[in-house]
């Protein structure tokens, strides 16, 4: 790309440009057409025409509706012709919000196109003025396989992400600031903006919701740390045993553990959940083996259930860590161990002084990513306990093993409190963001260390 055009921003392009450049701020693509890129210029103009048509036909109204989220309520009206009351449909706040979000996203995309066309026009102008070759449309398309390959390869992901991830996410985030709960369900009812009220209810002390939120958050954090570190150390120890010298049939041993990983987790989790039930096989066997007289409340007592899910997660998570760690263990320089052995270090000292610091150094980012994904470990909890045991202490369907995410899911699926679900989603985001920032500062420090030796 031309360096002069690159230095300009969209204000300087306007002040320095000719009349076509200035006009292309209003009619997209004029500068391109003037400077020999007729096809490209027409394309820009066409896109603009499409956008304006969309806004006139629907988008403008959708955006305007966003401020109120609908005003006319569904109501009964007397139809004199037939002589009965009829349902008159009112506004559907949910659809208004959704269409509004679509209009916003399309507008943002248009602004991006606008900026892009201005830069592209300026680029063409500068090149033409300095007598360089101006790319034709065909050449531009051909450049997609070369210097602009990112546009080719990323266009599909960007399109997909903005339609099915960014837009829905934006929609749900907005929902956190509405009162779209059980009592405000469209189409029968309208919902409206309420500002930060939902956050207030969840976070402030004294509210019934906050009396549920804080304990659930506490268990989420405990679970996250317990699940991550048990699997991390378990997997590391297992990998060290399998990879240690003198163990034959390494592949066989690895396979035994990897099988749990290969079976889809919802199957193993459902099976283990049925095995842990009051009349499940574990209780049957424990009684037959003489360990206990009564059935143990593996999943029905709060403390038992919490330990059970951590244990089952250990069973599922250790092989994953084991596989990952195996690769890293092989990278530890063998000389370190040999010289340690010469100095008379035992296996435990070697682990403490060599293996563990090395692993810790390499895997910190992985560990933090793992921690975040465990805070959001929907599968284990949902398929194992479904959040049970239930309790009267908690509000809105939360159970004693519910994490924030599973509670979020219940709020959307069972009680339709979308506003609370969205608020919890934002809080989860905040927690994840904090840990990610920690991870970043850690890995920055590590880069300066420049390798463990």
């Amino acid at each position: 790309m031309n360096s002069i055009a690159k230095k300009r921003n969209f204000i300087t392009i306007f002040t320095k440009g000719d009349i076509f450049s200035k006009l292309s701020y209003i009619v997209l693509g004029l500068a391109n057409i003037r400077n020999g890129q007729i096809g490209k210029g027409l394309l820009f103009a066409l896109m603009q025409a499409l956008y304006i048509t969309f806004m006139v036909l629907a988008g403008g109204r959708n955006l305007a509706n966003l401020t109120t989220l609908g005003e006319s309520l569904q109501h009964m009206e007397f139809n004199e012709a037939i002589g009965i009351y009829e349902v008159k449909p009112g506004d559907n706040s949910m659809l208004i919000l959704l269409y509004g979000v679509v209009a916003v996203v399309i507008s943002v995309a248009f602004i991006a196109l606008w900026l892009f066309s201005i830069h592209s026009g300026e680029n063409a102008r500068v090149r033409r003025k300095s007598g360089k070759h101006v790319n034709s449309l065909v050449e531009d398309i051909r450049s997609l396989t070369n210097e602009n390959v990112h546009m080719l390869l990323l266009s599909l992901p960007v399109l997909g992400l903005s339609t099915f991830t960014v837009m829905p996410l934006f929609y749900m985030i907005l929902m956190a600031f509405t009162n779209y709960d059980q009592e405000h369900q469209p189409p029968g009812n309208l919902f409206d903006w309420v500002g930060l009220e939902n956050f207030g209810k969840l976070l402030s002390a004294g509210d019934r919701l906050s009396a549920t939120f804080w304990p659930v958050l506490g268990w989420t954090l405990i679970w996250g740390f317990a699940a991550t570190f048990t699997c991390y150390f378990g997997g590391m120890v297992l990998a060290m045993i399998i990879n240690s010298k003198g163990i034959k049939f390494k592949k066989f041993w690895r396979t035994i553990f990897v099988i749990t990983m290969a079976i889809p987790s919802f199957i193993t989790l459902r099976v283990v959940a049925t095995m842990l039930g009051e009349r499940g096989i574990f209780n049957v066997l424990l009684q037959q083996w003489g360990f206990t007289v009564k059935a143990l409340p593996f999943l029905s007592n709060t403390t038992w259930a919490r330990f059970s899910v951590i244990l089952v997660n250990f069973w599922i998570g250790v092989p994953v860590t084991m596989l990952m760690v195996s690769g890293i263990l092989m990278n530890i320089p063998e000389e370190l161990y040999e010289s340690a052995k010469l100095d008379g270090a035992g296996p435990f000292t070697m682990f403490r002084k060599i293996t563990f610091p090395y692993m810790w150094f390499v895997t910190t980012p992985y560990l933090i990513a793992n921690l975040i994904s465990n805070f959001n470990n929907f599968n284990t909890i949902y398929f194992m306990t479904g959040g049970e045991p239930n309790t009267l202490e908690y509000f809105k369907g939360a159970g004693k093993t519910d994490l924030l995410v599973t509670w979020l899911y219940k709020l959307t699926k069972d009680s339709n409190d979308y506003n609370l679900a969205a608020t919890i989603g934002i809080i989860i985001f905040a927690i994840s963001a904090v840990f990610t920032l920690i991870s970043f500062s850690r890995s920055g420090a590590m880069k300066n260390e420049e390798g463990f030796q």
Binding site: T145, S265, V284, G327, Y366, N376, G425, F429
Partner: protein, 421 residues
């Protein structure tokens, strides 16, 4: 001190092994278990049980523990007189079996004693010092003998852990072949074996459209293998090997999106799909999967980062375009990461539950296997369908396990490559 030396053995542990073996034999004479007022030693139990005929099969374990512990001491004494590698190895094998018997006694003493009419309502807390000393001595001796033969002690841990890890899986497999229907059975090993559970799932007149679910999942899995892999590899190649304005910003946006819980937006996705007229269709599942696939670029980007830049530069000098570098140079060098990504996409289709369950609602004919199988484990249906559920689980698991074992090497390489980067 005048030490004997034998090549292949470490005789420093011989004395400890012998002490362990002696303690093992002594423990046979100590009280083993109590029933009511009375307590028995292992030897006295041995004597009583061998002469009575009302005994369970598990009594073999008691015999084995007693006999092998004695033999172990004899072998130990023998090898102290004349130390040979074969002698110690034989001792190790005997001791290993004895240790297994001692361990299993913890699970079978109840049935041994009750079948023999010696106890009623026996609990393991009635096991006495004789048992626990014997157990510890068995492990101690085994470890010492293994150290003597320079065998890795890790085998003991691996065996125990392996059994624990395989236990639930064995249960699924056994249940899948169980002839007796129902969820609540009071025994581990089925009384009758049958293939019916599998046949029922696939029979044409089955109540459950399992065949349909299976085909649906296969379609989704195959399609998302292709789409997701192309998108993930394309994205990570671009982010790893090319530099362009907005690259960092793009990665940051992806990271921020990734910090929101994924299914928070499912309701909205569902409404959008409804607007597009795609709800309750398999196509929607494939499209949504592919649309979000780019989020998982990290592992393959990390892998691409490890390929030297010089290769690309040389290719550019030779006149290759970026796209050609991707298809002709980077991809052929990245077999393990391709396999990793394909495998991930394939597995994802089999195990994804939340979105399909929300998407399909009660439209059973488009369920995937995951949704269908989960539907079977609902408490209203679990008793009727438990064995069929297990059979379905086995059918799903077998191909994946085979794939996994076959491609394990690539999986490890792909993962560790990413961590290095």
């Amino acid at each position: 001190m005048n030490r004997k030396t034998v090549i292949g053995l470490n005789l420093d542990y011989q004395l400890k092994s012998l002490i362990g073996a002696v303690i093992g034999v002594v423990s046979l004479l100590l009280p083993f278990a109590r029933t009511g007022e009375k307590s028995y030693s292992a030897i006295s139990l041995f004597g009583r049980l061998i002469s009575s005929d009302a005994s369970s099969k598990a009594v073999v374990l008691l015999y084995a523990a007693v006999v092998l512990t004695v033999i172990s001491l004899l072998l130990g004494a023998l090898s102290a007189v004349k130390t040979t590698v074969q002698g110690i190895k034989a001792w190790m094998v005997i001791q290993a079996v004895a240790t297994a018997a001692w361990t299993l006694l913890m699970f079978s003493t109840k049935s041994i004693l009750e079948k023999a009419g010696l106890a009623n309502g026996f609990l393991n807390k009635d096991l006495m010092a004789g048992y626990f000393i014997g157990l510890v001595a068995a492990y101690f001796t085994l470890v010492m003998v293994m150290k003597m033969t320079k065998t890795n002690v890790g085998y003991i841990a691996l065996t125990i852990l392996g059994i624990i890890w395989m236990f639930p899986i064995l249960w699924i497999v056994l249940t899948a072949f169980r002839a007796e229907q129902g969820y609540y059975v009071g025994y581990f090993i089925p009384h009758g074996f049958t293939f019916d559970n599998f046949l029922k799932l696939f029979s044409a007149d089955a109540v459950l459209p399992f065949r349909r679910w299976w085909v649906n999942t296969l379609i989704v899995a195959a399609a998302s293998c292709v789409c997701n892999t192309l998108i993930v590899l394309g994205t990570s190649f671009t982010l790893s090997r090319t530099r362009f304005t907005g690259r960092k910003a793009f990665m940051n946006v992806l990271m921020i999106i990734g910090m929101f819980p994924g299914f928070m937006s499912l309701i909205a996705v569902y409404n959008i799909l409804k607007g597009l007229g795609l709800n309750q269709s398999l196509l929607a599942l494939i499209i949504v999967g592919a649309a979000g696939a780019a989020m998982g670029y990290h592992v393959s980007k990390g892998f691409f980062d490890t390929i030297p830049k010089a290769i690309d530069e040389a290719a550019i000098i030779d006149g290759a375009s970026r796209l050609q570098i991707f298809t002709h140079i980077t991809l052929p060098l990245s077999k393990s990461i391709i396999v990793y990504t394909v495998l991930g996409a394939f597995l994802g289709a089999w195990s994804d539950y939340i979105f399909p369950s929300m998407l399909f609602g009660d439209k059973q004919s488009s369920y995937t296997v995951a949704v269908g199988l989960y539907w079977l484990t609902d408490f209203r249906r679990i008793d009727t369908y438990y064995t069929q559920f297990a059979a379905g689980a086995v059918i799903v698991a077998v191909p994946i396990v085979i794939l996994f074992i076959w491609l394990q090497r690539f999986y490890v390489e792909g993962l560790s490559g990413s961590v290095k980067g």
